[in-house]
Symmetry: C2
Subunit: 603 residues, 2 copies
Amino acid sequence: MSLKDRGYADKVLRVNLTTKRCSTENLDPDVMRLLLGGKGLGAYYLYKESKPLADPLSPENPFVFVVGPLTGTSAPTAGRFGVVTKSPATKTFLDSYCGGFFGQTMKFAGYDAIVIEGASAEPVVLVVDNESVCFEGAADIWGCTTAESTKRLKGKFGADFQTVVIGPAAERLSPISGIFNDERTAGRGGAGAVLGSKRLKGIALRGTGTVQVHDPAGFDEAAWIAYRMLRMSNQIKRMNDHGTANILGLVNAAGALPTRNYQEGQFERSNEMTGEAWSKEYWTRSIGCYGCPIYCSKIAYSKTRDIAIDGPDFETIWAMGVNCGLTDKEAIIYSNYLCDLYGVDTISVGNIVGFVMELYQRNMISSTDLDGVKAEWGSGDALVALTEKIAKGEGIGELLQKGVREISKHYPGSEDFAMQVKGLEMPAYHPNAAKGIGLSYAVSDRGGCHLRGSPLAELLGGADPLTYEGKADLFKTNQLDVSIIDAGILCYFVKFGITLKEVFQMVNPCTGFEYRDPRDLERVGERITVLSRLFSTREGFSVKDDILPKRALAEPLPSGPAKGHVHELEKLRTEYYHIMGWSENGIPTEERLVELGLKEILQ
Amino acid sequence: MSLKDRGYADKVLRVNLTTKRCSTENLDPDVMRLLLGGKGLGAYYLYKESKPLADPLSPENPFVFVVGPLTGTSAPTAGRFGVVTKSPATKTFLDSYCGGFFGQTMKFAGYDAIVIEGASAEPVVLVVDNESVCFEGAADIWGCTTAESTKRLKGKFGADFQTVVIGPAAERLSPISGIFNDERTAGRGGAGAVLGSKRLKGIALRGTGTVQVHDPAGFDEAAWIAYRMLRMSNQIKRMNDHGTANILGLVNAAGALPTRNYQEGQFERSNEMTGEAWSKEYWTRSIGCYGCPIYCSKIAYSKTRDIAIDGPDFETIWAMGVNCGLTDKEAIIYSNYLCDLYGVDTISVGNIVGFVMELYQRNMISSTDLDGVKAEWGSGDALVALTEKIAKGEGIGELLQKGVREISKHYPGSEDFAMQVKGLEMPAYHPNAAKGIGLSYAVSDRGGCHLRGSPLAELLGGADPLTYEGKADLFKTNQLDVSIIDAGILCYFVKFGITLKEVFQMVNPCTGFEYRDPRDLERVGERITVLSRLFSTREGFSVKDDILPKRALAEPLPSGPAKGHVHELEKLRTEYYHIMGWSENGIPTEERLVELGLKEILQ
């Protein structure tokens, strides 16, 4: 059975950078029915083809670009792509996603995945023009910023080519470096450094083909219903109006907005950092990715520096603003700008700066150590100066660019307030003030991640954030839903307007897989979750790694609705393992693998 | 044959405001195949049911809300609605369209058209909740601004109701008053005043049904292709980036940007009025109508007054800015805000102010006549003061609110530079600098209108704007294309990304009408054009009314690429009549009516 007229291109491009050989292969329909695509497909390749315990920055680490069966169809938000590899930050499973205009173009070019193997001796760019694939030397743009590299590639190949590139930070293998399609980024976990280690500066890709779904009539109706629900959703409208930061006030009100490196859960000047405040002062227009009816992304313009950036989004406003105790929007914009140019993750950078500010507060680091920077809370100058050092890897930036966990190793005692899990810096929700979120940080495959769990289900009124009851279940459900979204691939934000039911109603006519009901599709999400877990298990990860920093476990929040709260992780984690059918050590059982049908495809 | 599963709701709601009776009727499939819907359907009802030479503000003037077969489907931009009536400004055919979220909701409620007849003795609101229809007294919101009226109606009926309302200007029957769905407006030609004369303050409407197309699979593919082309179009990207005003610099460069009431064709400070300039200083985010992947609309925020408006769009920036010789963005925002609140058309208001400024320049009017306003070119204060008077109809505003043609009657000699056609103020392209545009102003059914012709085909490089050759043909083609878009109903801006071919490819699977090819569909556009012409003919209009103001015909442009140019209308108009198959008097011939199949349905 061919998957070609079922949402898939039914073709994987395999590129070996060591030998410079390329080949293609078809998809295995049995595997795809079990794992759908996107994250599922990437996890499958990573699990099957990676050498256990391989150095993430070695040629042995495969790197997979993926799209899903919905990619490039008329499903709303279906323009994204994902990357799956072993992370140099966490040393285990990494998946990261990116909006913009690359994903659907990859599908239009005829590929469900591009598997990058080996490493090139010299900098190269992969050029894909539908079925034609070749390499071009990239010595001329090696060292260039993401913006300059993108501009030169489009100048060379034409504006109808879409590009992904890495920046200088990825070239020097920073574990906080990402991959960029224009100003959109697959930012978390250091995917950029993996491409840097392979000396693949980027991909220029043109795709002019089409996508056929299995049942166009059924699919059209389902996609239209999803579109309608999204356009009629008030939460989506809020996001369109004031960007992702529309929720900042709500998170702050819940006492869950991590302030000054998570020392507090409320920021006294949060009203200056809301989406509404940014709307009035800085945002100039809205940007939508391919396929998106939401247009959450806002362009900020800085008059003092005459620069415009795509952002800052909620996480960046939190990380670079609230988490550093500052409200200097000009400093945040410029720091975000530097991160984009040099190609590093704004969440990680904001975390690093917040962490350094706390070291400075505690006199554990001096301005001399920081090349003269006075890292005081609230200082926009310090944010800009430290961001520049991180982005360029210069001076103290050589250490800082390695992320919070590595930095903390140099300052004994600071591990307790190094707010990371498995080496990935934590995002904009305080685990102590939202128990399900704390669980998600601890057990998520890629570390301290806000996208697996249920922050908004907990904080926007669906559940009491301060109770533990039901949170393992809530997290499990959200995690499986998100795995399906990442397999589709859609954008997380569809969750503000549609449910798994509507996704199910699109996936069936798209693929013809005849999943029985949304619960049946949920099993796809579970397989993917288990598959990434199996990868981590093979890498030696277990319950011992599913932890939170000591600040979350033992340091009560000083004020706000969650005053006095720590995160009592252990019981919740045990409950989670139990409902997942995993061992007490956090390992999926053989029995569960058989039940899920995973056993056979992984042999 | 029922049209119900062919994009149509197959139901027209007829509301008699005099008797307060409501009824419904089905569509005539033969008529719909000939006229498609939207403008075609509205023109059909207006032609059949209006009393010739009726006063537009009398109960005899029917008022028709229309949607098209594409409305509410997954076709891009298919959320608009139109209104068709006899205009109090032009005393002939009027159609005007509005984005936002009302159109698709009307279809979801189950209506292709709502025909409003008669007039109510007291202010009322029509409440439509799917098949249920009733009236509510509106004495409490009569006199309220559009924003306040909308807020109260949504408060009363619920946020899932969509509304259209009129403002105070329409209540006092100003011929420049429009109809508002939130901040979107069907602005031109005084449709608001017609509802005002009927004392219909607005409609609150909820629709929860669906739209079925004839061939969902074929339709899905066609809609998806159209979506794809729109998202990949560079012109659409420019519009998304910098709003409709992205073209302001281009129009100025062509010498076609009417400056200081059309005295010149280039504005020396145009660089302050471009979309890029507004982006940097004033726009805060982008708004998209239902179904729209473009998001052309920008929200401007005025710090000095703490107000945010949807706009200003290109036409408003031109009318209130360039046409008044000013660059005071705060004044433009506030004037636009006043127009929206009181419910008047920004193009007409900018024209009126520009016209008054020229009267003032020529000492034909004094500041005493203007209640103390010094109407000097470039004065933002004068713009705001005059706009407020017009919006409120106070002082000199009582005259000014009647539009440029009526004002000019009070100032002998000023008719030569009263820049209107048939009573409708002209838009942002100088007819002398773009010959096809001049033709379109002269012969368009609703008067001096920029939406029938081919301004961008002429000015964006498709044709030399200063030649007459081929312009009658170019205008004809664009006029027919636009008639189809208005019948669909789609947004004009799809023309920046798709052609009639892609519209044709959506219309056939939607309706099952089996139009043979795009040319066959073009005949639908021609029928609609001819039908509105027949209405005008019956009202006594002919070649004598297809004219331009003397400034266009006899006053050469003083500078710029079109220096020395007037508009030699006569020959072009004759050529246009000829290729349309109309008499020298501009009347469609019997022969052509038979050829088009119009004869039988109009008997």
